[in-house]
Every structure is written in C-alpha cells, then in structure tokens.
Amino acid sequence: MKLEQISIFLENKSGRLAEVAEILAKAGVNIRALSLADTTDFGILRLIVNDTEKAKQVLKDNGFTVGKTEVAGVEVADRPGGLAEILTVMSDNGINVEYMYAFVQKSGGNAIIIFRFDELEKAIETLRKAGIRILRGEEIYSL
C-alpha cells in the first residue's frame, strides 16, 4: 500500500531541473508524477517514477543528493467534495498531511493524489476503514 517516492535536492540555479529530466530520460525512467517545493535558496523535487531504484542510482551517480520516502497514492472521487472527505477523515484522526500533489492520470473515473503523511501506517489504516481506496505501488508505477 505504500508508495516509494524519490526526492532530489536542487539549488535554485537555471537548468538544474532540465538536467534531472535528461538524466532520467537517458536511463529510460518514466516520471509518473512530480511536485516541486521551492524556497528562495533551494528546491526539493519529488518524483514517483516507474523504477525507483534505477532513478535513484543514476541521479546519485550524477552527483545529486537523493532521498527515498514512503507516501500513499489515494484514489479521490472526481466530484465536488472528493478531497474534502479524505482530509476530514485525516484531521478527525489527528493525522497531518505534510504535503500532497495530484497525479496526472486517472484510475478509472477517479483522480489520484499522492499524500505525504506524518504517520503513514496510521493513515493507511484509517483510510481503509473509511472505505477509501489506496493504490498499490505496481498499479501506480504502471499506470
């Protein structure tokens, strides 16, 4: 139920993001979803890719600082209130969302959102109990 995400430290310099994309392209790694958090000095690029280990390795080989984090890919009903439902369940159970970003593709008729929770295990358990579908890694990597 957990999803592997890689994160990459980027200085705010022009061309750095392009470089990452290039390295992954050359290695034949497909980016499934991404988000970029930025501050005045640096950025953190977070990626869901089809081959986490390979992506991590080639980026490290090219001198990037790379981290791996577990996140959850949650199916969200594509209608008004879909996201609100999930967030309400989380806040009712005292689980914090550190950050989240949307997946481009859909799963059936539903949207997919990647969540970084402070307590992942508890979050997954809570979502399951609430009847919300969490996508398995293979499902996402191969979407």
Partner: protein, 433 residues
C-alpha cells in the same frame, strides 16, 4: 594635544633604556609565575639573566594563539587570581574563546593608553564621546570608555546597533567624538541620509575608528560623509585591547605604538627572523607592563611595517603602517574576528553535516554580510522543506552563538564547493575596502 608629554616624547635612547628595564622585569615575572612560559624559555635555552640589551628580546620564544588555546582559560595569567579584576575574551580558532585578564593597575594603564589615543585624535576634556564600540566581552567598548573618562570627557556608552537612536542622541546630546568600527561609521552616514539629517548640523568633529581593516578610500568617504576627521586606531585583546597604537591627527600616516608599554617587532613569518625597519612582515608585540596577562613576542598574524622616521606631531614612538593583511585566514566581520575553523567546528558538531563549506563575505551598503554555504549530504537531506529550513536556521543560530555575529546559511548541492588539493578554499571575500 599630547596626553603624556613626558613619556610620549621621550628621546629614543631614554625610551629604550626604559623598555629594557621593563622587559627585564617582565621576563623575571613571567618566568617565576607562569610554568608554561618558563618551560618554553627553558626549551629555548634562555632565561631572565640573558636579557642584557633590548635586542636580546629576539632570543625569547614567540607566543601564538595556539599557546593561548592550550592554556584556556586562565593558564597564562601571571598573578594570583584574586588580583584579577576584569576578564575579556575574543574569538579563538575553535569553539573556545581567547581569554585575557586585567589587574587594577592594568585597567589603569589601559585607561591612560586610551586617553593618549583619544588625544591623538584631538579629543579633550569637555568633549562628548559617543562610544559605539560594543560593550561586553569585546575589549572595544569598555576600553574606549575608561579612556574617555580618564581624559575627562563625558562618555555616552551607547554601544553598537540601533542607528536611528544613535543619531537622535548625537543630535540631542551634542556628541563631538565618535568611536566605532569604520564600517559602522559609514552605516551611520547612510542612516543619517535616510533620516534627512545633515551631518553639518551635528557637533561631531572627529572619529576614532578601529577593530577592522579599512583603507584611505574609506577614510575619505567617512570624512566627507560625516563631516569629521577620521583616524585609525589599533589594538587587540591578546595585547590589551584598543590603545596599543594610534594615528595622530597631524599626519594621519602610520599608527604610533605606545612603546613605553609595548614593543613592536616585524618578523618574516616564514623564517621568523626580525626584518629591518620599513620592511613588511608579521607584527609581533611584547607587553612591558601588563600584570595579569602579559605576552612575550605575541604573533598577531597582522601584516604591517615599522615607520621609524620622526613624526611632526612630536611623539617619538615608532609608527606601524595601517594593517594591510593577515598571514592566516582570519576574517573581520563587522568588527568581530572570525576564523573559518570556528565555522568548521560548528558544522562538525551537528550530526550529519559535512565540513564542506564556503564562506562568502560581502559588503551590502556599508555593512558586512557573511554567507556560509553548506553542502546537503544524504544524511541531512529531507523531502520536507521545513526540515531543511530548520537545519539551516539551527546552523545560523549556532554560528551566531559562537561568533557573536550573524550569518546566513545557504544549503547547496553536494560537491558544488570546490575541493582543492591541500588547502581548501574556504573563503571568498568580495569586500572592496
């Protein structure tokens, strides 16, 4: 405008006789009271009886900052501790500061020397001395303060910071003499301009600036923008604090060393041999009268030369040229001595932080700014912005706690900081003085 005519204009011959007498006494005192110095002298095969001539000074071993570090905090004090009435400290090369002490007599000598310094700048009884040197462990504030009181001036112990208030007080209290770092003087000029205060409406007449390197160009700028005369003063806590040497208003060329209290030498930093007058080298000081914390041939790492030609002001003391550089990598940021090794010490103490760093110093407006670039290794990297920002703020805080001056920490990608064979380039100083 000479504070102490008798001593400051002593014929060289009489001065050297006085120096020899005091030097002999110094070596005897230190040899008897400080085991560390005695051991060093014994290793060098020299003792109190070997000082027969002023030139015998060169037989004595040097003292370095490393010696002070090894004896932290009070190991080199030469009097019983109950005679110490004041303790100051300055930057050490690692996590611990360099500590110095003063007896009651040392404090009195210091006041005399700062009164002389103020007189060098034409200050006198009746002046209002605006003392914006920092008060605290730093010797600048209190050193200048006691000197101004000795002079008979009225001191405003305003210390550093809060420039608008400083200017309001200058206007309202009628400050006539300004004491601060030269860069702070320029900052005050900037703030005056912002506030629409015309310096010509102030009573300021002269400024005594020190604690950091500056240039003739900066002097011209300060003099023009503050409408005052500016002189360079010199001192370092290991030797005493401010009041070791001062320019005179008459020539503003070279700083008279108060040679009845200190013997300056210039040595070749490589061979460690004294060089002839006029030649550049490393400045070395021996304190002749200090009781609590005397130093013998203390290597300042400052680069200067001795100007032995007579001066039109009448003082017979030799002058040292304005400090033109350092033999080590010490930086002076807003008047605070900063060693790159101190930054390294802080980084090493934070788990996961690698000691790959680069210090970039710049001058924004008239104030120094320091940026420390730290490489983000996998150990400290996080996918969360707040974790990395927290780390950067923590490093900033710890550096500030140790150095007493603030910096900005910038996280950078690994291996972006140049690794060079041998000595790594740790500092980029973009300031143009």
């Amino acid at each position: 405008m000479i504070w102490n005519e008798e001593f400051e204009t002593l014929p060289r011959e009489a001065l050297e006789a006085l120096q020899l007498k005091r030097l002999k006494n110094l070596v005897e005192r230190v040899y008897a009271a400080v085991p560390y110095y005695r051991k060093k002298m014994e290793e060098a095969g020299v003792g109190p009886n070997d000082i027969k001539n002023i030139r015998d000074l060169s037989k004595l071993p040097f003292t370095t900052k490393e010696d002070l570090r090894l004896n932290y905090p009070f190991g080199l004090f030469a009097v019983p501790f109950e005679q110490v009435v004041r303790i100051h400290a300055s930057s050490g090369t690692t996590g611990k500061p360099t500590v110095v002490g003063y007896t009651k007599r040392d404090i009195e000598s210091w006041a005399e020397l700062m009164a002389r310094t103020l007189s060098c700048g034409g200050a006198h009884k009746g002046d209002v001395v605006h003392n914006a040197y920092g008060y605290g462990l730093f010797t600048g504030g209190l050193g200048a303060h006691y000197g101004a009181e000795r002079l008979g001036a009225a001191v405003i112990p305003i210390s550093g910071g809060n420039s608008k208030r400083q200017i309001m007080i200058m206007q309202d209290f009628g400050s006539t003499v300004l004491m601060c770092t030269p860069s702070y003087a320029l900052n005050l000029a900037d703030v005056m301009k912002e506030m629409g205060v015309d310096p010509r409406t102030l009573k300021l007449r002269v400024g005594l600036f020190g604690a950091e390197p500056w240039s003739e160009k900066m002097r011209e700028e300060i003099e023009k923008r503050l409408n005052i005369k500016a002189i360079d003063i010199f001192g370092l806590s290991e030797v005493m604090g401010p009041g070791v040497a001062s320019e005179c208003l008459e020539e503003k060329h070279g700083l008279h060393v108060f040679e009845d209290y200190f013997i300056p030498e210039i040595i070749d930093p490589e061979t460690r041999e004294p060089v002839p007058h006029g030649r550049k080298g490393e400045l070395v000081f021996t304190t002749l009268t200090k009781e609590a914390f005397p130093v013998i041939r203390y290597r300042t790492k400052d680069i200067s030369r001795i100007i032995a030609e007579p001066c039109s002001c009448g003082r017979t003391f030799h002058r040292i040229e304005r400090i033109t550089g350092r033999t080590d990598d010490m930086l002076i940021i807003r008047g605070v001595n900063v060693f790159p090794s101190q930054i390294e010490h802080v980084l090493m103490s934070i788990e996961g932080v690698e000691p790959h760093y680069l210090i970039i110093v710049d001058r924004q407006g008239s104030l120094d700014v320091m940026e420390v670039q730290v490489e983000v290794s996998e150990d400290i990297f996080s996918d969360e912005v707040k974790v990395l920002e927290k780390l950067a703020r923590r490093i900033e805080r710890e550096i500030k706690d140790l150095l007493g001056t603030s910096c900005k920490v910038k996280l950078v990608e690994p291996r972006t900081i140049q690794r060079s064979e041998g000595k790594a380039k740790r500092v980029i100083d973009n300031r143009k003085l």
